[in-house]
Symmetry: C3
Subunit: 483 residues, 3 copies
């Protein structure tokens, strides 16, 4: 017997009826707001080319490391899940891969993937019965049929999802041709880029050499001289701004920053480009470049995002066979108070700069990040990230940051996803969890319901627009004061 | 339209009706108990001189780093908030500063400041409409008028607040003249001091040299000899005890203790006073002095408080312009298990010694502090501190310490405040949060309601009196057993 | 007036009525399931000899470090609680020790001991009034009388407790004679052993020398040669498997693993046995031996358990007077991401190996352990351990691990206890807390009630059987899929 698939209207709200009623009221005010997605990893070619997506396995399973990491943890080989390796595409049959996934849905109980998937199944594809072993084929066939229709092409879904702005992430070595094509196409969807210079900053990145070559070609600069290298950044940043970028993004192993004297920085750079650096020097160079990026942001206005703390490619064998981003990135303890000090000593008091800090180490929420963001004018807190982009994770973020940093040193939600179809699911989940948190404050009389309603709208819509400078012309009235 | 200001009778209690009913019942038993404030930073001259406080901005805003740090984080210059700098008093108009604050009240949503402020506005000043841009002037004028009346002088408020005992904090280099004046005045309010020797122990403190000079003058000792230095501490401790002190307080960067051989300690001391020390030696000296202070406490009975883990004056430019205590102190990871071992190896099993440990690093609650306090006779846990002195912070403290340390290795509440008017607000908040926690245990049948009621009274009143030796003659019967 | 002792049917369930109703429904399905106790520290001689237990103090108080550590923290000497010292048994009168404990029951409010004790008092001994000063003698006498009856002998209680399998823990230097005697006795109770080689692996263990001697005698190997030492492990593992063992257990100070070249490992071993090692070398040897044990597990199928992070015997004076395991073990920050990498690089992708990781550092739950277990095929998460084996601790474990690791990378409950009579109390508590967590997910519509019911049974029964290979023949159907 097929099990029904029901998205309950009150999901993620507190069970207690009076708090639930408040959550409902707050959610009603944010449910329909357009989606602001200022940070993510969707593929811009989807929107420039507007080709139909393929089958269920290749769209929903094989690219989603949340899903295949869990299956892999239970002994399922990635090959069987259609995950491509360095030797090429998986040879598995997509339908078989989908069946294997479907028969293991219980592994996702209690995870955000369960919530995201069921939203996609119910809201995007209209299923009314749950995915399991028995319904795997029905799902596979139905999804395949729908994806073949025009209503499920990328631009149609973008519009149906009510996305007001969507940022992708590109490196300095990338051409941005898809963004140019989107702009030139006359299509009205706002798909912008973000400047992620890691491949030309992280000398330990496996693409560093190639990316530097491409960086030189694209800018015409001598990127192996310190001056030329910095100028090349300036040029690419300008090109990214031209393609809509309002932010940079930095995915370093730690949050360490440095503020070297110019001659020291130049000498360090020469070690980096000569390939004669130690691990500590690679780290110091990344640290210095955060301060250089901040300096450039003061000139060109790009908001900085710092995403530190992941031990990338932890599984050696898997990295060798399958490459990066295969669900084997593991968070580490991450320190901010000493790490950020050099940058803060240099630029921390200048309200023209904006730095959004993220963490994978929740212990820093109440101890370090909220106190830092609750003091320094340049700092804001990014939302609960990656492993913590979940109901419990978001709740902990609010519980542990709000009392010191308030709501207004945070920047709303990032979906940070490669999974385009899950974007509405993720924003809906975030809105519900924030409404649930606010509802608890209201029902404990720690906030009025009017304040909570205004705050809910700010968190869902106004704060991300302001923090990412996506609405320079009409700042939402509700956010006016300060300064 | 002005918004009403309502302090709901059930604020901070669980929303669920049966748990809320228990919380109400527990709170009824503690609401009216006198305030024991064994640790704080009010100014004793208020009570010796009993002068009227000034205006709303200078009383409530300019001295409260919780408030101006948040405004500063949003780009508001401290100068505009009446915060004095090293160059002198702020030139801002108090009314304008107050308006600026009032127009940014939304920044404090979800923070304890919002709760404390509204308690002060409603309970102390009788406001029935909320503070915002529109009511800023009304507030400023009304508060100014009330402060000018005798009913709002410090002693009158002390009595109205039902404070049974209030400890201030002074350094060894301070004269205690205000405490002497209070005692000599015949006024019955119990305002005592606490011995905070940091300025003469922390060689990295910017006041170290001056404080040592004054320390020498006040004691007549050769404080630059190790023996004279220790004797000077003994003399000042005796003088502090004479001014009512029952405790010492130590605000070190870490919890590190040391137990050097006497000759080593003396040699280290000479490096410190010669100014030839390294950072590690300054740290080792602070560590050694905790053990020396413990040794003296075994003689004179003063309870020790250790408040470690703050990176003081993190914002370099702000420190240079405005000095210390300007909302730029940031917590750091803090280790206790190895740090406290030298002191514990020496004195840890002697029930005549009492050491109250605090933390800004909540990760140590369940992992280190509760196991330590749940074993060593000398250790007790101070309440959730500073950034964690908040509803969520206090809840986490109870949830993470009670199961290993119980309630009876904790010491009740400290308000730890410079904001005199907020004292009743803070104690009321702490009592409510403890009652809410106990009510949850009762409604989950993890404790009887009779036990919870007794515990609530112990937490609010008996434990702080016993832990800080404020009632040596009549120990509350409820706390009798053990040993 | 004696206070009633009531175990409420809904204890530990959420107060909110709809969530409570779900918790009740889930609990009804697991309440009666047999107990699987795959990891603990009961004494196998109890079951081989089946002698009556002694009096209340010697059975329930003197061996329970949860109890006497709390009393000690309030200044009660261990001697008075019947805790034996190195000089011999305590001279205290058992009844006086029991009275002292009874008069201090309030210290245990809010702790799991309070819950476990009251379960034992009500369910095992049938008390209907609470233990306190007034009822201490009644308790002492009644318990003594009952313990003298056949119904309270170890085997009778084992059967009454509905224990399907119980693992004890022994070292390689132990004979396993009690396990042999149990097997030879014809009694049907399944009491198995587990291989805990710390005394012959940890060169800093005070029993290392003696244990190595005994290890040599029992195996007939030259355990001072690297090859003979490894062979001796293989022989004892085989002997343990013969006595029912399905797992090994490793209680190291850290989680550090190493994967040295054979010649390096051999050279290190010779330093260890020569007694010329540094602390770092002792640590490296423990690290290497985890990898050696993993290698052996791939051959003989024993599941590995790693229990790191306790600073053992922290209280120097107490250790000198009373020896180890006296309530003075304190958790420390524990890192896993780098620590486990050498072992994971070697064997992390081999689903034939199973490694169950525990922690005393809850900060690693969401940050390190859930991501590791949610990726590596060999890793599973042990339940909330020791100080965290409590309602709040278990709740945090589920809240912080489920969203990334799911339920199916966890292994159900371990009671990990020396306190035999508390085993049903502890399993009942764990089942209730898991049902409460699942009920919250159901009432927030994050899981269906059917899924929750299946999961509850898996957590209480199927997962521990599968994870510890206690049911190789009939894997519970519900757990089938994956691979």
């Amino acid at each position: 017997m097929a099990k029904p698939l029901v998205l309950h209207d009150d999901r993620l709200f507190p069970a207690e009826p009076s708090a639930r009623a408040v959550a409902r009221e707050l959610y009603a005010a944010v449910k329909g707001l357009p989606i602001i997605s200022p940070h993510g990893h969707t593929d811009p070619s989807w929107f420039s080319e507007n080709e139909s997506f393929g089958n269920a396995a290749d769209l929903l399973l094989a690219p989603d490391h949340y899903l295949y990491r869990m299956l892999y943890s239970q002994g399922v080989p990635l090959e069987q899940l259609r995950v491509p390796s360095k030797r090429g595409p998986s040879g598995a049959d997509p339908r078989e891969a989908w069946r294997l996934f479907a028969s293991n849905m219980k592994l996702f109980r209690g995870t955000p993937s369960w919530l995201w998937l069921n939203y996609v199944f119910a809201e995007v594809f209209g299923f009314e019965i749950a995915l399991d072993e028995a319904t795997a084929d029905l799902y596979f066939d139905t999804i395949g049929e729908k994806l073949a229709t025009d209503a499920f092409r990328p631009r149609a879904l973008f519009e149906r999802f009510n996305i007001e702005a969507l940022a992708t992430t590109e490196g300095p070595q990338e051409s941005l041709k898809h963004h140019h094509a989107i702009r030139d196409s006359g299509w009205g969807g706002k798909v912008i880029t973000a400047y992620r210079p890691d491949p030309v900053i992280d000398a330990e990145h496996e693409q560093f050499g190639d990316a530097m070559e491409r960086f030189a070609q694209l800018t015409g600069q001598d990127v192996w001289s310190w001056r030329g290298y910095l100028d090349a950044h300036r040029l690419r940043r300008a090109a990214f701004i031209d393609a809509g970028a309002t932010s940079t993004d930095h995915g370093h192993p730690t949050a360490t920053t440095a503020d070297l004297a110019p001659a020291e920085a130049q000498a360090l750079f020469h070690k980096i480009t000569a390939g004669t650096f130690t691990a500590a020097e690679a780290e110091l160079f990344r640290a210095q470049m955060l301060t250089e990026m901040a300096r450039m942001s003061l000139d060109d206005g790009l908001v900085m995002q710092i995403h530190p703390g992941s031990f990338r490619n932890h599984n050696r064998l898997l990295f060798e066979a399958y490459g990066r981003d295969k669900g084997a990135d593991i968070p580490q303890p991450t320190e901010y108070v000493r790490a950020l000090k050099p940058l803060l000593d240099r630029f921390g008091n200048d309200p023209k700069l904006s730095v959004i800090v993220f963490t994978l180490d929740e212990t820093s929420y109440a101890r370090e990040l909220a106190p830092l963001a609750g003091h320094y004018p340049i700092l804001k807190l990014g939302p609960a990230w990656w492993f913590h982009d979940s109901p419990e994770g978001m709740r902990r973020f609010r519980e542990q940051t709000t009392e010191t940093a308030g709501f207004y040193n945070t920047v709303g939600f990032n979906d940070d996803t490669r999974a385009f179809l899950s974007i509405p699911a993720r924003h809906d989940l975030a809105r519900r969890v924030d409404c649930a948190f606010l509802a608890r404050l209201v029902s404990e009389h720690r906030m009025t319901v009017e304040e909570a309603a205004e705050t809910a709208v700010d968190l869902a819509y106004n704060l991300p627009k302001r923090a990412y400078k996506l609405d320079q012309t009409s700042p939402a009235g509700a956010l006016a004061p300060a300064a």
